[in-house]
């Protein structure tokens, strides 16, 4: 029991504290004026508002004003989510009595035993106005309290940089809009535009020219300027039906509203579009403005011939994604490539376009080998940093491992070096050659060189030589006697050459001469050395019908040879003997 009591006490305490804390923080007592400046024929409404009930309210003396009505009291009290809000208002309607500056002094009130005071405020009363605000027509009030504004995110964007235009309709709390209709939808010439649909009109609180207003976003457009220079955004015009409160009141004291149609338009806006800087502009720049990532990927890097692979060129990020062409993939011409398939996943938000665009190429290699996809550049202009950025994709090498057998033996184009060589599907990439077989660099050609001319025309010389040779031979053949002499001389030369060398040297000359004569006979008569005597020689020669004189000469010579060994012989004699020997030999030769 004790415990239960304790819990109750604690909870009561806590509750009391929270209530107290709330009350302490929130006590306000304010004076609100409907306007600070007014004409002499206008009226002023003064409200004293407090958020907690108080007693003993003492209004200020409204010097310079006459109280037309009041004080009238209104109390509102509500509980929202367990939080109580309370307000109590004393209202006065005043009419100025003179021109000039007046001050409405403090009012006091006692709340929870404490005295609160409002702040004093100055009022300026001017000469009478033509149309006192209280008597303004519904149109005038609507004019003053309804504004259509086009908010442009950036008035000096770069070419192709996203800007947003937001159309807001500001409505003062004193009037209410019951309907609106667009009269003229702007065409955004020289802009690429995308409307961002406004699905629900949400009234929000904001300020317009320092006064509290409610506003509604009617239209949001993202624009990409496509031309540099001054571009105009056409105004948006709306026909708005408004309910304007009148000064009349109905039976229950509520205001009577008048309905009126108002045409509002957001004024023309001039956008100064800056051209992209030409300085440092990359050669491959194709109008991409924003902040992007770039990549080239293939679905596989090694495959068999006639299989297909996907090569994807992809740009992702923020910027004018739909407004530029993707860089083209460069592929070896020996690959079969089909038209790329373009895909885009781009969302357009107030910040501009965002997402991915890609080109997907289907590639089918026909032959085995390596196929490099070279690195391709993609350049864009980043309006934030105001610089150009170039991104390069990575080089990819596709390996085709096996060629199909069906295209085997396509053959090597052998005759013309200009033709593209087609690889037979079943041939491998060959290994290097192992035999160096080196030769010095710098070739000299045989054709039109000196040896060439020599070898070409040299043989022609043989023709006259051959002709001359033939003629000479014929001549020689026709001269019979001369021929015989020549023959004998030749014989003598052959046998007596050794003797001739020894001329002047007696001993060896005659030895050589004798030997020569013997040799001659040996060759001519075919006799053996053993049966070699002068008689025998004479006999043999006789048999061969050699005349006696010649035989005598021959024998005489042999005798001389023998005698010379023992007796002195002069050089003259030797010469004579030599000549005689040659004469005799040639004579014998003729006769045998």
């Amino acid at each position: 029991m004790d415990f239960k009591k304790f819990v109750v006490v604690i909870s009561v305490f806590l509750f009391a504290f929270t209530v107290k804390a709330q009350d302490d923080a929130a006590v306000t007592f304010e004076m609100k004026l409907s306007k600070n400046k007014l004409g002499l024929n206008e009226r002023l409404r003064v409200d004293f508002t407090m958020n907690k009930d108080g007693d003993n309210f003492i209004p200020p003396d409204f010097s310079g004003f006459r109280v037309l009505m009041g004080p009238s009291q209104s109390i509102s009290s509500s509980w929202i989510n367990g939080v109580r809000s309370y307000s109590k208002t004393y209202s006065y309607t005043l009419a100025p009595t003179a021109k000039g500056k007046f001050r409405i002094n403090q009012a006091t009130i006692v709340i929870d035993g404490e005295v609160y005071k409002s702040l004093a405020e100055d009022i300026e009363v001017n000469t009478a106005v033509d149309k006192p605000s209280d008597e303004m027509s519904a149109d005038d009030v609507a004019d003053e309290n309804l504004h259509l504004v086009a908010e442009v995110s950036k008035s000096d964007p770069y070419l192709n940089e996203a800007i947003t235009v937001v159309y807001k309709l500001y409505v003062s709390p004193s009037i209410s809009v019951s309907n609106y209709q667009p009269l003229d939808n702007p065409t955004y010439n020289n802009f690429w535009s995308q409307d961002i649909k406004v699905t629900a009109l949400n009234a929000q609180n904001g300020t317009f020219q320092g006064k509290p207003y409610r506003y509604v976003i009617l239209k949001r457009v993202v624009l990409y300027p496509q031309k540099s220079g001054k571009l105009e955004i056409e105004p948006l015009s709306l026909d708005v039906t408004v309910d304007v409160p009148t000064s009349k009141r109905d039976f229950f004291g509520g205001r009577v509203y008048a309905q009126t149609n108002k045409t509002v338009s957001a004024g023309n806006r001039i956008i100064e579009v800056k051209a992209l800087p030409l300085k440092n502009q990359p050669a491959d720049f194709n109008g991409a403005v924003g902040d992007f990532q770039f990549s080239v990927t293939t679905s596989k890097t090694s495959l068999n011939a006639t299989e297909s692979l996907q090569a994807k060129v992809e740009v992702s990020g923020k910027g004018n994604l739909k407004l530029f062409k993707l860089p083209e993939l460069e592929l070896p011409s020996s690959l079969e490539v089909y038209e790329p398939e373009f895909t885009e996943g781009v969302r357009t938000t107030l910040g501009g376009m965002e997402g991915v665009v890609s080109n997907s190429y289907t590639v089918v290699p026909a032959f085995r080998g390596k196929y490099p996809l070279p690195s391709i550049p993609f350049s864009f202009f980043n309006p934030k940093t105001e610089t150009y950025t170039t991104l390069n994709s990575e080089e990819i090498v596709i390996n085709v491992l096996q060629g199909p057998n069906s295209i085997a033996n396509t053959g090597v184009a052998a005759d013309n070096t200009n033709k593209r060589n087609v690889i037979a599907a079943n041939t491998q990439f060959n290994f290097i050659k192992l035999d160096a077989n080196l030769s010095p660099i710098g070739s000299s050609y045989f054709f039109r060189s000196n040896p060439f001319y020599l070898l070409l025309f040299g043989p022609l010389l043989f023709i006259p030589i051959a002709i001359l040779f033939r003629k000479k031979r014929d001549e020689i053949a026709s001269d019979v006697v001369g021929n015989k002499v020549k023959k004998a001389n030749r014989l003598a030369r052959r046998y007596l050459s050794k003797a001739k060398k020894e001329l002047g040297n007696k001993e060896s000359f005659y030895v050589a001469l004798e030997k020569a004569l013997h040799n001659y006979l040996k060759a001519k008569l075919k006799i053996e050395t053993s049966e070699f005597s002068k008689d025998k020689i004479s006999e043999l020669l006789l048999q061969k019908k050699v005349d006696a004189e010649t035989i005598n000469g021959f024998v005489e010579l042999l005798k001389n040879c023998e005698a010379a060994r023992y007796s002195p012989f002069s050089n003259v004699q030797m010469q004579q003997d030599y000549e005689k020997a040659s004469e005799v030999i040639s004579l014998i030769d003729k006769q045998v």
Partner: protein, 252 residues
């Protein structure tokens, strides 16, 4: 004197080969281990020594192919083909390298007559035509002398006809050699080395771009002006390109 120079050159060449062959083998080993850059360095030292061969250029082409260097590999394969025009291995690997290029250039169709004429004159290298001319000339001289020496008129007649035919053939062969050499000199192939290069209409940077070429494309140099070369593609297009963007194949 001349002979002695030739012999000296030959000897020098042998000395050079003797020195460079171990380097070649080192390079082969490096290639086989996958050290392609080292292999390229070694092969290049042989080239700097003034030695070359189809095999050397082919191996360089292979090394560059392995490093995915398209223009260099095509450049060296084409050089190898200049030295060994009918090597199937080189053609095969050149085909692999050409698959990596971006440009596909068609060839102009040739008329029947010009193709026939080209087929004949290019059937042999002009040096081969020259050797043939010399051989046939020898034959002519031999037959003519025989004609002179023969006794019987029938033999004389055949020898005479044969010799005259040989003389005619020899002269025609020289003409073919001449035409083939002219063709050879007019053919100045080059390889584009710039990744992507605009070919200009005039030999200056301010003129219009006619078309775009990519690395590894083979072109033919027609003429030169300052640092610009006029090139022709196999499909007949011509244009000017700065010399620094291409390398001529016949620099030996």
């Amino acid at each position: 004197m001349k002979n002695s120079i030739v012999i000296f050159l030959l000897l020098f060449g042998f000395i050079g080969s003797a020195k460079d062959t171990p380097v070649f083998e080192q390079a082969t080993a490096a290639y086989n281990e996958g050290a392609y850059e080292k292999a390229i360095d070694l092969y290049s030292t042989i080239l700097e020594d003034g030695q070359h061969s189809a095999a050397l250029y082919y191996n360089l082409g292979n090394s560059y192919y392995k490093l995915n260097d398209i223009p260099n590999s095509i450049y060296f394969y084409e050089k190898a083909l200049l030295l060994a025009p009918n090597d199937a291995e080189i053609r095969n690997n050149l085909g692999y390298a050409q698959q990596m290029t971006l440009d596909a250039i068609g060839t102009l169709p040739e008329t029947g007559l010009s193709r026939f004429y080209k087929d004949i004159t290019n059937a042999l290298h002009f040096d081969q035509w020259a050797y043939l001319a010399v051989a046939v000339m020898f034959l002519f001289v031999l037959l003519y002398i025989l004609f002179y020496y023969f006794r019987y008129s029938s033999r004389k007649r055949w020898a005479f006809i044969g010799s005259l035919t040989c003389l005619f053939v020899s002269l025609v062969t020289v003409a073919f050699a001449y035409i083939a050499q002219n063709d050879f000199n007019a053919d100045r192939p080059a390889i584009i080395f710039a990744d992507e290069i605009e070919i200009q209409a005039e030999p200056n940077a301010t003129s219009d771009a006619v078309f775009v070429l990519h690395a590894g494309t083979k072109v033919n140099v027609l003429e030169e002006l300052n640092d610009w070369k006029r090139i022709r593609l196999t499909d007949g297009k011509t244009g000017w390109v700065a010399s620094e963007h291409l390398r001529v194949l016949k620099d030996f």
